[in-house]
């Protein structure tokens, strides 16, 4: 009934060729007491329907802030967006009115947060919080919203959904809570889901279940998915392409398997080398030396240069663009880019 209406409505929408979401030269700063923290410094990425983009990077590299800017949930102030575009189906959301923007949230673009226990309201039942999506955006009755909530809970395989619909978040296990978050994001069948470290707070076994469920639902609804994580293991199974972030910039983009096989940025190289591997059991684990830069004082040139084993004078003087990456003979590598002056050397001499 209602799902049929939704589908019909979706088909009536003008088909849009090109990426669902296109972020261009996005900058986000925070005005703090100590100065302006430049959290995002010119991010570009795009996601199409059915595609999964994994965003990778150390803590503080700006992954979440970028996502929050896309969702439009940054607190402004202290945040401000001095430059950039966030195009959704070709329209820049940064120039839209508040109300139009709100209607995209939840309906077209939904977000899954890391810690479901704190992200869900502790004093409202999960049934209420799920049903609220339909009440706020579709204007359905309380009873109908409840029914929808049960359906959603069944959809994400919560056992005995009918009996548990009135339970509160703290009464569920961590894995179930995260599935409820997924259900909430899925409720209105959005075009794009942003999952910010959806499994970090979970046990390893539960992580896999939740990730599988998310991937399965994404394929079923043909949604775009932005998966933020620092877990390289998760990425390999589900992502189509990867964007690696460092100090608020994308330093490398590549289709997932190529990135694993042949990184073209020393930072990515470092990240990959720091994954524990079975064949290196007993050996000391590699770690990138040094610390991520202070966002109040990002070093001149390439932000990674103080930690980079390849750094030369040029790296300290100029900020590298995201160069297209090619084979040694010059054949372009589809979808690959590296913001390193020495990408060739990094890519080829392993």
């Amino acid at each position: 009934m209602n799902t049929a209406v939704d589908t019909a409505k979706r088909e009536r929408e003008a088909p849009y060729e090109g990426p669902l979401l296109d972020v261009r030269d996005l900058h986000v700063e925070f005005v703090t007491r100590d100065g302006v923290a430049k959290a995002v410094n010119g991010v570009d990425y795009s996601v199409s329907a059915g595609e999964t983009l994994a965003v990778l990077g150390e803590s503080g590299s700006g992954k979440s802030v970028t996502a929050q800017a896309i969702m439009g949930i940054l607190d402004m102030p202290p945040a401000r967006i001095p430059r950039g575009e966030i195009r959704f189906r070709g329209r820049d959301m940064l120039t839209m009115g508040k109300e139009e923007r709100r209607k995209i949230r939840g309906q077209k673009i939904a977000m899954i947060f890391q810690d479901a226990l704190s992200a869900l309201n502790p004093v409202l039942s999960v049934g209420y919080q799920l049903g609220e999506m339909f009440r706020a955006h579709r204007g359905v009755s309380r009873a109908e919203a409840r029914e929808k909530a049960v359906e959603l809970m069944e959809r994400v395989r919560i056992p005995a959904a009918k009996q548990r619909v009135n339970d509160y978040p703290h009464q569920f296990s961590g894995g179930m809570r995260q599935r409820i978050m997924i259900a909430m994001a899925l409720a209105l069948e959005p075009d794009l889901i942003i999952a910010d470290e959806p499994t970090t707070a979970l046990d390893v076994t539960v992580q896999a279940q939740v990730m599988d469920l998310l991937a399965e639902l994404q394929a079923e609804y043909n949604m775009g998915l932005i998966l933020i994580t620092h877990d390289l293991g998760v990425v390999a199974d589900v992502a189509d392409k990867i964007a690696v972030m460092y100090a608020g910039r994308i330093v490398e983009t590549a289709p997932v398997h190529e990135l694993y096989a042949r990184p073209a940025h020393p930072y990515t190289r470092g990240l990959l080398d720091s994954i524990p591997r079975l064949d290196q059991k007993g050996q000391e684990l590699y770690a990138i030396k040094g610390l991520p830069p202070n966002l109040l004082r990002i070093p001149p040139g390439c932000a990674f240069n103080p930690r980079c084993p390849r750094a030369q004078d040029v790296c300290r003087a100029e900020v590298p663009d995201l160069f297209p990456v090619t084979e040694e003979d010059g054949t372009p590598l589809e979808g690959r880019g590296s913001a390193c002056f020495f990408w060739k050397e990094t890519l080829h001499d392993r």
Partner: protein, 308 residues
Amino acid sequence: MGSYVLRRVLQMIPVFFGTTLLIFVMVYSLPGDPVTALFGDKAADPAVVASIKHTYYLDQPIWKQYLHYMGNLFQGDFGTSFTGRPVSDIMADAFPVTIRLALMAFVFEMVLGLALGVLSGLKRGSIADTLVLILTLVVISIPVFVLAYIAQTVFATNLGWVTPTVQDSYDLTQLVLPATVLGSLSLAYVARLTRTSIGENLRADYIRTAVAKGLPRRTIISRHLLRNSLIPVVTFLGTDLGALMGGAIVTEGIFNVQGIGNVLYRAINQKEGPTVVGIVTVLVIVYLVASLLVDLLYAVLDPRIRYA
């Protein structure tokens, strides 16, 4: 839940006996002889004094007096005051006045306190917020009696809207000014508590989720923000209702409101044991019941709290 309530009620029993005994001992160890004082400047006939003491059990050791008092209390007899009026009569006159005064103060502090708290909590750093902060700070730092005298001077002496003291304690309109003074301190606390609580909850993850869900701002505030922010405020208000009834002594004295506070004040001055103990006993019970209700209300508001 049922067993929790039962346990709490059972816990009240020792508290009840403990406090009454304490009050009893305190009143009876006040310096001076209340019976001799009844005669004022006239020399008292020792025989009369002895007979009065006998009727009021004052010639007995204190533990006997206490047992006697408690025995009567459980038959619903609060004893007789030195003037010969049953203490239950005195309380029946005074309690309704105090209850009205406390309820008016309560409504005042709740409505205005919450409104100011929500306003300044949502608009942190605004002029309204700053004003609320300054105003509440002033109210908190000024003693109640000073506030009462200021109110009297302004509204009675200068503006002439009311009489300085209450003429008829059963007239609700005359109780407005004392109730406002009585509720003002708690109002300041309610406003500040609400403001802090809203500020904390505004930054909470679940509010960010509510925004990400695309809910309208008014739904976010009423359904998500207020529901959570008001939990500590409601608890405060609940406890305060009990405190307002016992705490009206100063206000009732200044405005001449013939409530419990005034009666209690007079009774203490005259070392009227039965009246003091009777009133305090009732106040203790009110307070105990109120705090039980607050705890139960807390469980209703916050589903994470379950009493077993």
